[in-house]
């Protein structure tokens, strides 16, 4: 069970693996995530479902090796099996129909937005992808995103790939020229905040994909409790996608920073 079918080393720290998980592959909906345990002595860690392959009955996970658990996961090879994959967890996102949607992914956040883009496209939306990173090396899933989105903006801060600039500039253009009515954003908290400033100025509805800071997926650990609409909410249960206006950004930034320290 949970055998690694293929593995790709995207950069020296970012890896992509396809894991055989028939039940999860069949039932996963966009926005959902899985909890992964590389071996039974390592802490479980949450990862977004980047892609689903129904023929191979596998799910694709893309991760940056920035914690001991993910380090272990990155050291596994094709043919190895994960100790456990729990999922799909999280609230499935209700997909809109026949509208223009901009999806912003930054760095590893592109993995969190990929599956959502696919489903949006299936539901006759015009999907505009905005992907970015610090350098060209940070851009993952570029070919897949090009296939999925009708239009794509590739932004890097140093200009090594695509256009030189920030994802916020691209978003401004998209909202003004393409009249996108909904924006999804995934990435580090600093980027989310900048995107929200732009979105607010342009008065466009925005949804944020938050990394579920959970180790159990049921809200028992209390790690992923954030303030949404004035109430304490568990990201793992009611998220990970939330409407931007309802989020308490100050509280969110605190939480995210604690976790990465």
């Amino acid at each position: 069970m949970f055998e690694i079918l293929s593995k790709q080393i995207i950069t020296d720290r970012v890896k992509r693996i396809d894991v055989k998980a028939p039940k999860i592959a069949q039932t996963a909906k966009p926005g959902q995530f899985v909890l992964v345990m590389p071996d039974d002595k390592t802490m479980r860690v949450s990862l977004p479902i980047a892609e689903v392959n129904l023929i191979k009955e596998s799910i694709t996970l893309i991760f940056c090796e920035d914690s001991p658990s993910l380090d272990r996961l990155g050291n596994l090879w094709i043919g190895d099996s994960l100790s456990a994959v729990i999922g799909p967890l999280g609230m499935p996102e209700a997909i809109v129909k026949e509208s223009k949607v901009a999806c912003v992914g930054y760095g590893i956040g592109i993995a969190a937005i990929m599956f959502l883009c696919r489903e949006l496209r299936k539901n006759d939306n015009k999907v505009i992808g905005i992907i970015g990173g610090k350098t060209g090396k940070d851009i993952i899933l570029e070919p897949q995103m090009r296939l999925t989105c009708q239009k794509i903006f590739l932004m890097t801060e140093d200009g090594t790939a695509g256009r030189k600039g920030y994802v916020t500039q691209a978003l401004e253009e998209v909202v003004q020229n393409e009249k996108a009515s909904l924006v999804y954003v995934a990435g580090p908290i600093e980027i989310i905040e900048e995107i929200l400033i732009v979105a607010r100025a342009q008065a466009v509805k925005t949804k944020v994909i938050i990394e579920p800071l959970t180790i159990d997926g049921m809200g028992i650990c209390g790690t992923g409790q954030i303030c949404v609409d004035g109430a304490d909410t568990c990201v793992a249960l009611d998220g990970p996608i939330f409407e931007a206006e309802k989020l308490d950004l100050e509280n969110l930034r605190q939480k995210m920073n604690n976790f990465t320290k």
Binding site: M43, P68, I86, D216, K255
Partner: protein
């Protein structure tokens, strides 16, 4: 009430390991202790036990040296003897008639129960193994494999129903697995008891999160006649202090979960991503607080438990408190935390507290704990563990039509009934009672399983 003398690891030794603190009676000690039992004709201990275990009966078997029979006697009324012998608050010992005599200790019933489990367990499985279940052709799904779930599953399997337990984690045991430290309940005992429950014919499906991976409707459509919700009450409630989101502040649940999953390896592999400062302060007065403090002590930290009640009002047993003190946990009583202090990087650096004292506030002779004027003081801390109240894990109610919860988010049950507001769905243990102690959960689960058994049999006619 004086405590029975049970051999324990010395404090100096036990703070360096995660092995069980109480070593349990040796054969000779157990038989000597059993011989002290007066074998009352109208035993008060049985009346005191919420499960109604035949206490004089099993003690008699120990006295006669038949430990297997002793365990069978316990199992007649209590399927989880191994847990009870370790985690029960032992109301039977408080009811023991020997307490009425001066300078005489009550019988160590809990320790004897544990002894019966430890020495009878190896033989017991061969006997129960052969029994086949599913004589009634009824299928029951139990959601959650914590203490309540295991009791309900074991009992219903014994009654002849086909029982499947759904558990989210890859290991069964629920709270017993992630919430109770290994020095109070060794994983080996947990595994033994789960094996015993499985040997009764119960199937445990791990990695199944009811509500996400399977829905309630899915369970009914796959042929289950009844669903029992035993999701427990483990969700932490925010403690209401400001700056709770500062770094260095954890919920006790997360802390215990991380330590329990990593097991004893954590001491050998300190690189795990859980920063624990030198000065750890635990806020709370329940078992969760004392357990967290005792775990932190085992990492060589300076630990203080801060709580606003008196020491007698703490919701932990006398021996646990005593053991914690011996291990070096300090208790700051009558101090009410009002604010978390943080530094520029938003890392916690201390807790502002108010000193409480008894005062006759309304001058009506009602003495209450109220804050002393200008008594603010700061306790330095670089890690704060919040071990306050918890609430029921009733998220499933949001996803299921007709399933109601009450004002405290417990599953709603009619008075003295096991059924929830939804048809064929039952609730047992802490999921219906709210946070409760171990023995209350077991006795409620036992009652509920009796009712479900009646329901299933009636339903079939």
């Amino acid at each position: 009430m004086r405590q029975p003398n049970i051999p324990v690891q010395t404090p100096a030794k036990r703070v360096k390991n995660f092995h069980e603190v109480e070593l349990g009676f040796s054969k000779r000690q157990a038989m000597e202790e059993a011989r002290r039992c007066p074998q009352c004709t109208n035993p008060k201990c049985v009346a005191g036990c919420p499960l109604g275990v035949d206490i004089p009966g099993f003690i008699r078997s120990i006295r006669e040296g038949d430990f297997l029979r002793a365990l069978q006697k316990v199992r007649e009324n209590n399927n989880l003897a191994g847990f009870c012998g370790r985690l029960c608050s032992a109301p039977c010992e408080q009811a023991c008639i020997l307490n009425e005599e001066k300078n005489v200790q009550a019988i160590g019933i809990r320790a004897l129960e544990r002894f019966a489990f430890d020495h009878g367990q190896s033989k017991v499985r061969q006997i129960f193994n052969a029994e086949s279940t599913n004589q009634t052709n009824k299928k029951v799904a139990v959601v959650g494999s914590g203490p309540a779930g295991l009791v309900v599953a074991a009992q219903l399997a014994e009654d002849g129903h086909a029982v499947t337990v759904f558990e989210t984690f890859e290991k069964s045991g629920g709270f017993l697995n992630y919430g109770v430290p290994e020095f109070r309940l060794p994983k080996k005992v947990l595994d033994n008891e789960i094996d015993y429950v499985k040997s009764l014919g119960v199937e445990i499906k791990n990695l199944s999160f009811i509500g996400r991976t399977h829905s309630i409707e899915e369970l009914f459509s796959s042929g289950y006649n009844a669903i029992v919700l035993t999701t427990g009450a483990g969700i932490p409630k925010p403690c209401g202090l400001s700056r709770q989101e500062a770094s260095g502040v954890y919920f006790a649940q997360e802390f215990l979960m991380r330590v329990n999953f990593a097991g004893g390896h954590l001491i050998l592999r300190p690189a795990e991503p859980f920063a624990l400062g030198e000065k750890v302060v635990v806020l709370g007065c329940g078992e969760l607080a004392v357990d967290s403090a005792r775990v932190a002590v085992r990492f060589g930290k300076n630990v203080m438990v801060v709580h606003s009640s008196t020491e007698e009002d703490m919701k932990v047993s006398q021996e646990q408190k005593q053991q914690a003190k011996e291990e070096g946990v300090r208790f700051e009583i009558l101090a009410e935390p009002v604010e978390l202090c943080v530094d520029e990087q938003n890392h916690v650096k201390g807790i502002k507290c108010l000193r409480l004292d008894f005062a006759d506030a309304g001058e009506k002779g009602e003495w209450k704990l109220i804050p002393v004027k200008d008594s603010e003081f700061i306790i330095e801390a670089d890690t704060v563990i919040l071990a306050g109240e918890s609430k029921v894990n009733s998220y499933i109610a949001k996803l299921t039509q007709g399933l109601k919860v009450d004002s405290q988010e417990r599953f709603y049950r009619k008075k003295d009934q096991a059924q929830t507001s939804a048809k064929n769905i039952f609730a047992a243990g802490a999921a219906a009672l709210g946070p409760a102690n171990f023995i209350e959960v077991l006795s409620d689960s036992k009652n509920v399983s009796n009712q479900i058994d009646l329901f299933l049999r009636r339903d079939g006619e």
